[in-house]
Amino acid sequence: MDDLERRLKEHELPGGAPQATLTSVAQRAEREGLVDVAYTTVDSPMGDLLLAATPFGLARVAYPLNGFDSVLAELARRLSPRVVEAPARLDRVRRELDEYFEGSRREFDLPLDLSVASGFSRRVLEATARVGFGELASYREVARAAGSERAVRAAGSALGRNPVPVVVPCHRVLRTGGGLGGYTGGLDKKRFLLDLEGLEV
């Protein structure tokens, strides 16, 4: 390497684009209808949450245990690779979640995009969405409401894959004997939510 090449290499350049520029990119992309999946991360009393929405509605709520990077990679694969950190689309979700955690909201009024779930899984999620604040249901009851009382295990696994936990309240679904069952974000999160709703299990 001679002097010229050394001078080129050592020439001062900024570390990267300023935050304002990156924000403008996201806003412009959103305005031009190029953001198929918008996401943001928020902090909550339960720790960080990843929120993602399509133009149709909320498509994903994820816990750190799910691995945010792998959740985003899955959204890219299953919905669209146009996944952009564009927090504005999640403002309403964020606000309703804040109210829920503060205790001033008992049900969510949000459009959902459950297109990743179909058939029985989809019906299980819809049945679970009808279990109200502070109520409990069993996996069997949810399976029955979804049209197949014997498919208890399938109902459990559909809830394990619930793309929008908290908002579709799979934490309110327990084992028939009252056992806690499983939870997508870890059992400590399920306990936290049940506790928040004044449920003793």
Binding site: K9, H11, L13, P14, E32, R77, E85
Partner: protein
Amino acid sequence: MTALPPFQAVLDRHGADVYRYLVASVGPVDADDCFQEACVSALRAYPELRHGDHLRAWLFRIAERKVIDLHRTRARRALPSDDLPEQSVSDRPAHASTDLFDQVRRLPDKQRAAVFLRCVLGTPYGELARALGCSEPAARRSVHEGLTKLRKGAHRWTTSSVG
């Protein structure tokens, strides 16, 4: 072949270097706009890619197109003048500049892109060839020719400034 990662991941990974490349190529004033244009164009085209290989070179190629667009716009806007350097995408007039990057900016497009990507950002030749849309030997040649011109230019500058 790898699946397409989330677009944001591509931007998080390579955006900083693309921005640096644009600052080098068009100067800090226009880099911001070029960067936004490049990102939006890339996002628009993204789902049409068949796989997630060579995304960095792909992104640089889009950025380079924005540099050339800007260059053309400037050329159209500029008043006809004898002392305007033919290939300049520099913000400042040629004769006033001692800045090394300004000299690179006055190279022909391909040499300019090759010198910035190779010598400033350390791009490997395989990736450089993809970014420039040419063969690897042609990419090497562009770097070499660019550097040769710069050395001559630097020499001329030194002698004229002394003389």
